[in-house]
């Protein structure tokens, strides 16, 4: 979780704006097929993700996608050289799945990297959720930090139990791990839920009104970002239509 004290855009955006951009971008990526339109959206999503103030994960993600795409096309070419049925023309549309992946991954990465537990609670307070669901979501959100600590302890226990020779091979540490991981998790979950339920029963179910002191600041940033996203989307749709018309006429 990132400290949002830096002067970056995404941290100052409302969580609803980030989710709206993610969902809109995802739907557009799913519908559009033209590589130029998808390419434009991918570039816009990467620029947006790079502005979140911590560019390293974004660069790593995009490099990983490029490496994966190169490895994939390399493997297809190699197979095509050996086996006749695998041989296929390398059309521009082949890039579309990777561009879609880049769009969705970059947009979602912003949500994941800039979200804090306090934002989560704040968002849950602001959203017009039905009362039982709000209780459910608030209990879930408040469990997360303590659960992370429990999982760190479980991870240490699993790492201590594995044989020394397997330390270089990480996945081997997980062989036989379901029991080691699941039993303390389940017992912990049973106890935590019982304790929370007793506490809730003793106190009564308190439905707090949405706090007035929300840290919402600068809503114009949300509006501006959405406006830019709409313009980019319209241009991408235009490119898509142009590509379709060009394809039909040719």
């Amino acid at each position: 979780m990132q400290d949002c004290s830096t002067l970056d855009i995404a941290c100052r955006l409302d969580i609803r704006t980030k989710l709206l951009l993610g969902f809109g971008g995802g739907v557009a990526a799913l519908v559009l097929t033209s590589p130029s339109a998808l390419g434009l959206l991918a570039i816009a999503a990467t620029v947006y993700a790079l502005r979140h103030g911590k560019p390293r994960p974004v660069i790593v993600l995009n490099l990983a996608l490029v490496v994966f795409a190169l490895a994939y096309f390399g493997a297809i070419e190699a197979l095509g050289a050996v086996i006749e049925s695998f041989r296929q023309p390398l059309a521009a549309t082949s890039l579309s799945p990777f561009l879609r992946g880049a769009i969705v991954a970059n947009l979602m990465l912003v949500v994941g990297l800039t979200m804090k537990f306090s934002d989560l609670r704040e968002a849950l307070d602001r959203w017009p959720l039905p009362p039982p669901l709000r209780v459910l979501a608030l209990i879930a959100a408040r469990c997360v930090p303590s659960l992370m600590k429990d999982l760190a302890l479980i991870r240490d226990a699993v790492l201590l139990r594995r044989p020394t020779w397997s330390r270089a091979v990480l996945p081997l540490a997980l062989v036989g791990a379901p029991r080691l991981i699941a039993v303390p998790l389940v017992v912990g979950a049973l106890r935590t839920s019982d304790e929370l339920a007793v506490a809730a029963e003793l106190k009564g179910i308190e439905l707090r009104p949405a706090p007035d002191g929300n840290r919402r600041r600068e809503p114009w940033r949300d509006v501006a970002t959405i406006a830019v996203a709409v313009v980019v989307l319209l241009v991408a749709c235009g490119l898509h239509v142009a590509a379709r018309i060009g394809g039909v006429s040719s």
Binding site: G101, P132, L133, A182
Partner: protein, 194 residues
Amino acid sequence: MRTTVARNLGIDRVTVWLWGELTIRELAAVAVFATTAKISSIAIALMGGGMNPLSLALKNVVFTALLVVLLTKVRRPRALTLFALTTALISLLLLGRGMFLAPASIVAGLVGELVVERTGGFEARWAPIVGAAVFDLVSKSFSLGLSLAFMREQEALAIVAAIVIGIGYAGSLAGLLFGRVLVKELRHAGLLHA
């Protein structure tokens, strides 16, 4: 006397149907188990050094086992749907993942509950296994469909996605059996009274 959350909160019949006749104890169990299932999935993926087949299967084993234990503890309508909803919400807000799969997950929960209702009800012995199995099957089918839609131009890539989802589903099937064993052990230890 059974005091429901919905009645405590003074909400209407439709909402009572939507959120079920869950007590606060059951609601807390659903919330805690859903959070545990989702966060443990992330932790296992990280412990396994990323997305390899072993950690992919293992996180599904633990997820489904936790779901089976929850459905054994909370034998009520909407428990499965609320579990799906909570895991989707956590996944969405903490990881930015599963935006498209969140509605599918809720549908999978509702389908799972419908099948449980039609095959002996929530008190039946095999109800937790049936509910978890149907939920896994439907949600994995949605995942597969979405992957195929995203990779429709590249059939080979779609096959890779199908293999990844297949490995995850194999883990879910193993999780059903493991969950059953876990329930027996928890009952034996006196930690689960349902």
